[in-house]
Symmetry: C2
């Protein structure tokens, strides 16, 4: 059964305005694949209207990405949307400070938009943005649920420049909705809506090294102020953000390298992709031999690597009482085209052709993290999500046929 | 050109007697594949004769196996000859204390037979059997050379029971000659005759643990006497036996396990197969990805192992200034049929069908070392030698054809 929804459009610009959902129209698309010839419903609508159709319940696949960072056009999202073929851009003609990114198939919304308190409000109440009390989980749940059900929503905008809540923007239900931010897995109701979830976990050592690079060397902050700002965030981070790891289908941990003794530069990274077992439509990536424990230094007679080289590790583990499969990459690639050598030894990559991961990485070699495990695993997760999406869609089209047969 | 050699046979039994080489007959087998019709050479021989023909020079392929042990029907040789299909047995009707083993394709001779001093002689001169002065390298060289050239020899027999030199036995040139003992790579001339060489290196810790088991628990020797006997052998062993390692194409090192902290039982073994690079007709075995460095614990979700499990390591290394490829197995198999799981991840095994290593191991599961790396790597080396043999033979038959074409 298809679900079509008719919305009236206010005469003002849709930014700042609000859509009024008038009526849901249900019809069986098996009887007629075209729009119903009887348009009496439509004629009853006096104002300009938009009709959004979904092929049934849960048309939109919802992906949660938790990370401790500002939202915005993160590299991960650019890699993800690139896998689906289109470039992600902010909504055309809308609020220039919108946090949303839209591509042909994917819409990425930033959960900061569900802040219930703006910068001043948080200051007054003495809560951080990490604190659930600064966020409106009821609205987050309602809007994600509506989008998942194929209904557009008027989502608020949190303006990262002004620190204020701007008028809402219209979000149409996409094929894939990514909710990115601090709390995608915090609220149990929102969590339930997720078809797949990712936690991007930057270790304190790496966060610190990165902040030193950016805030001290580039922005002139003092070492003390950087330390203080990290320390200040820590209690709320540990209380509200970090525990979401346990719910993630994949955790990407970014850690200092173990290839350089006592490294504190944070330039060479060790990245772990912790993949939960038993997740529907998701088969963990493995190295060489599924289920065993392996370490692999590809550098040698076939692949020459500059110091400190590259080391992969693979094996089963447990993580928050869940069975997981971990693939780890320590070190960085000297040449991106050599990635094909690594790619060819990984299995369950969900590529559509030999070398697709390498091709994606080469396409975006200017993106941060392209020479290490962050870019590599983000690209792989993009492919896994595409596969998950295609499996869900295939399963849905198979289901009515099976029901008809029965 | 084929080389035929005519020998007269003395009327006494060949054991203890000696063959007299009368004449070498050269003929071009391309002109006539049958024996020359003119038998005037033969009629000139008045006594009964034996004719041994070889298809050219170096018909016999010579393998050297160095090991610190008594010779005899070692497990390694039984595994090796089994790969060629026939069981190895002592020469029929000969000296019951012969150290020789003969199968359809393979003859294993023990280099103790080239002792120039018997037990009493060594005692009188104060030299051990390890000392080159107790061995006749001229005779060793002459006889191995003769066999390699397709000529039978009357090889002495060192009687391990009496400690005396018994009358010689006739050795016919086999397809594959294995010279096994303390000094196969000691003399440069003998070394030059080897088509392939193996050094079986039992570490002192394991030797000690084994001797404790055998000499103390089974034969009632004291711990002190065992220690003393090992210590007494050490200087000559280090001076004359150990340095041969550098010439070996493959070294099998038997070491204590690293899976059990501070293990001194010597029951669980770590076995390294150190394979020299660049040896003609020999491509080193590798694990998963040639030229990289890998550790692999196959135990996990697919293969359950009892304590302490199994760990494989693989990678390039240098050994006595030579480039080598090392495959290591630590631990032991719980069930031999699970070997197929390990076998399927090794490459360049020179098997003729999938699972041949496992089949060979199952066939001889009662042999010592069948559940660990000693048996596993010995079996693999057997297959590599078969492959080497077949390549040499194929190369030889191709060579005259190419010469005829040119």
């Amino acid at each position: 059964m298809a679900v079509c929804t008719v919305y009236t459009i206010p005469t003002t610009t849709h930014l700042g305005g609000s859509f009024n959902q008038n009526k849901q129209v249900f019809f069986n698309y098996k009887r007629s694949s075209s729009f119903p010839s009887s348009n009496n419903i439509l004629t009853s609508v006096s104002r300009p209207y938009v009709i959004t159709c979904s092929a049934g319940e849960s048309q939109t696949i919802v992906i949660g990405l938790a990370a401790d960072s500002g939202c915005g056009k993160s590299t991960f999202m650019r890699r993800l949307t690139s896998v689906f073929g289109g470039a992600a851009e902010p909504p055309k003609g809308g609020n220039p400070d919108s946090n949303t990114l839209i591509s042909d198939t994917t819409t990425v919304i930033c959960l900061d938009d569900f802040h219930s308190l703006d910068r001043t409000g948080r200051k007054e109440k003495g809560v951080t943005a990490l604190d659930p009390r600064a966020n409106d989980f009821d609205l987050m749940y309602e809007q994600v649920k509506a989008l998942k059900e194929g209904k557009p929503v008027d989502k608020p905008i949190y303006n990262h420049v002004s620190g204020l809540l701007d008028p809402p923007e219209l979000i149409q239900p996409p094929k894939i909705l990514v909710i990115e931010g601090l709390h995608p897995m915090y609220d149990a109701r929102v969590r339930e809506l997720l078809d797949f979830s990712i936690y991007l976990d930057i270790s304190n050592e790496v966060k610190f090294a990165w902040k030193i690079q950016r805030d001290m060397k580039e922005r002139g902050h003092s070492l003390e102020s950087i330390k203080a700002s990290i320390e200040a965030r820590k209690p709320d981070f540990d209380a509200y953000i970090d525990p979401q790891k346990q719910y993630a289908d994949v955790v990407i941990e970014v850690l200092p390298t173990q290839l350089i003794p006592d490294d504190d530069e944070g330039k060479v990274l060790r990245v772990k992709m912790i993949q939960k077992e038993g997740v529907k439509y998701f088969n963990p990536v493995y190295l060489f031999d599924e289920g065993s424990t392996i370490s692999w230094i590809p550098c040698g007679r076939k692949l020459t690597c500059s110091y400190p080289g590259i080391k992969f590790s693979y094996g089963p583990d447990t993580f928050y009482d869940n069975e997981v499969t971990v693939v780890e990459m320590d070190g960085q690639f000297d040449r991106l085209d050599e990635l094909i050598y690594v790619e060819s030894h990984l299995s369950n990559l969900s590529t559509k052709f030999y070398g697709e991961v390498t091709q994606q990485m080469l396409k975006h070699q200017d993106f941060p993290g392209s020479n290490n495990g962050t870019g590599f695993f983000q690209t792989i997760i993009g492919l896994k999500i595409r596969d998950l999406f295609e499996q869900i869609v295939a399963n849905r089209s198979a289901a009515p046929a099976a029901a008809a047969k029965a």
